[in-house]
Amino acid sequence: MMSFFTENTAEILLKTWEHLYISFIAILIGTLLAVPLGILLSKTKKITKIVLTITSMLQTVPSLALLAIMIPFLGVGKTPAIIALCIYSLLPILNNTFTGMQSVNENVKAAGRAMGMTPAQSLRMVELPLAMPIIMSGIRLSAVYVISWATLASYIGAGGLGDYIFNGLNLFKIDLIVGGAIVVTLLALVVDFLLSRVERSMIPKGLRIQGGRSS
């Protein structure tokens, strides 16, 4: 088992990089799509249900099937993998953005409006800062999902740590499967930990201090 790590160190690092790269781009695009959409949804309550239903339906399409569907349209390689992962990352971020925006106290929003904030100012100065911790925890959840699902991207030739697992399955080499799985899991844990730190730093200071006058 150890030999897997010692003999392939350089390659493992390369594939880890590839894996991270695919995941990162997918989450980035997912965030850029889902956060504005979530904000929009929280403002126009009518279509909210429809959109959330569609995205949660997308979520239930089996991952391998979704990847396979991509092939006729986009061929193989990194692009279809990133698009598929991106679709998966949407729902948690969308959901949390919506919930986060809804959780902002009505009275605080009304106060902002009464002081003469424009809708854009209210969003930037009040709603987003207060919703940010919840949005960030959606991004973190998505990141962990996407990193583990990115393993499957290897199936359509996108590379990444999934290569070890699929090779292992084809060649009946247990240490490839286990080794690949260990690295993916570690990666997910590390990213989760790092993002949890980011999430905490996003909680506005005024909400972290509760009572007590020592600051």
């Binding site: 106290n105 106060a111 100012q121």
Partner: protein, 379 residues
Amino acid sequence: MLHIEKLKKVYRGGKIAVDDLTLDIQKGEFIAFIGTSGSGKTTALRMLNRMVEPTSGTVTINGKDMMKINPVTLRRSIGYVIQQIGLMPHMTIRDNITLVPRLLQWQKEKSEATARHLISLVNLPESYLDYYPSQLSGGQQQRIGVIRALAAEQDIILMDEPFGALDPITRDTLQDLIKELQRNLNKTIIFVTHDMDEAIKLADKIAIMHEGKLIQFDTPDNILANPINNFVKEFIGSHRLIQQKPNFKTVDEVMIKAISITIERSLDEAIRLMVKSRVDTLFVTDGDNRLLGYLNVESLTGDARSKKSVSEVYIKDIVYMKTGSKLQDSVRRILKRNLNNIPVVDNQNRLIGLITRANIVDIVYETIWGDEEQELKDS
């Protein structure tokens, strides 16, 4: 300066929240909207800064049709104290106070100076500017909510139950504070409350609302003397109607002479004066008879025995009444704060008299039994 004509709000679903509201408000007036829950007070108030768009009717501000002013500009020019405080939890007290100045892109130095000035007006230390709302008590937060509405030097301030959910003493203090601010800064304040005592104490004119309609709009004295119908009579409450007589009396009519001592005197002299006049409190004044504080028996015991002069031990924190105030207000203050007496000062803060609990007993006695005695004599 504010002319409201046939203002009406029908909410979606057909609820008529405000119906044909017509009234005029002059500059510098303190107006209280009062009424049962759901009578349309908040809706009426919010139509004045277009937080709620009127269904019909007009509001004219300084001769200008409000509907022609951009709502964002309008709101930045009118102070608003929202029901339940509504401070921004993620902003420091400084940023909360200077919210409107920042929206108006004032110079940083000017905003900062405003924040310092305003926080001193409500007797909080400047160090609080760096705190967050969650670090302040309810009463302190409420004070910030009030000064936030003054920060951009707005002439008109709307307040929606700004002192709800406060203990009576804090409430009383804040009421005094806002009344003083309003007088000194000559602000026009429109105030929503469902507390009749608060309305009588603060307002120049009271607007009584019921089911969206304005029932009576007049000065507190006129409303107490001539309630327009049974609804208003019931709303005021019979206990207040009985109090009518002392209502019209001012503190000047019943106050007695206050025993005072000037600040540079020695404690020995103070004690001798107390014994001689048979009082337990001396009011401390400066050479011009201006009230500085007081001295009582307790302040002469303990530590104080090593001190020599009045200036070292007198207590600066003192509650007083201005000349011309209603007697009823002094009664309320004495009872609420559990004082034994309350000094009266003139406009230059010179001590001119004293209201004591014994005074009040006399007045109450006169009000309740006076008529009967008169009748006995007559018959």
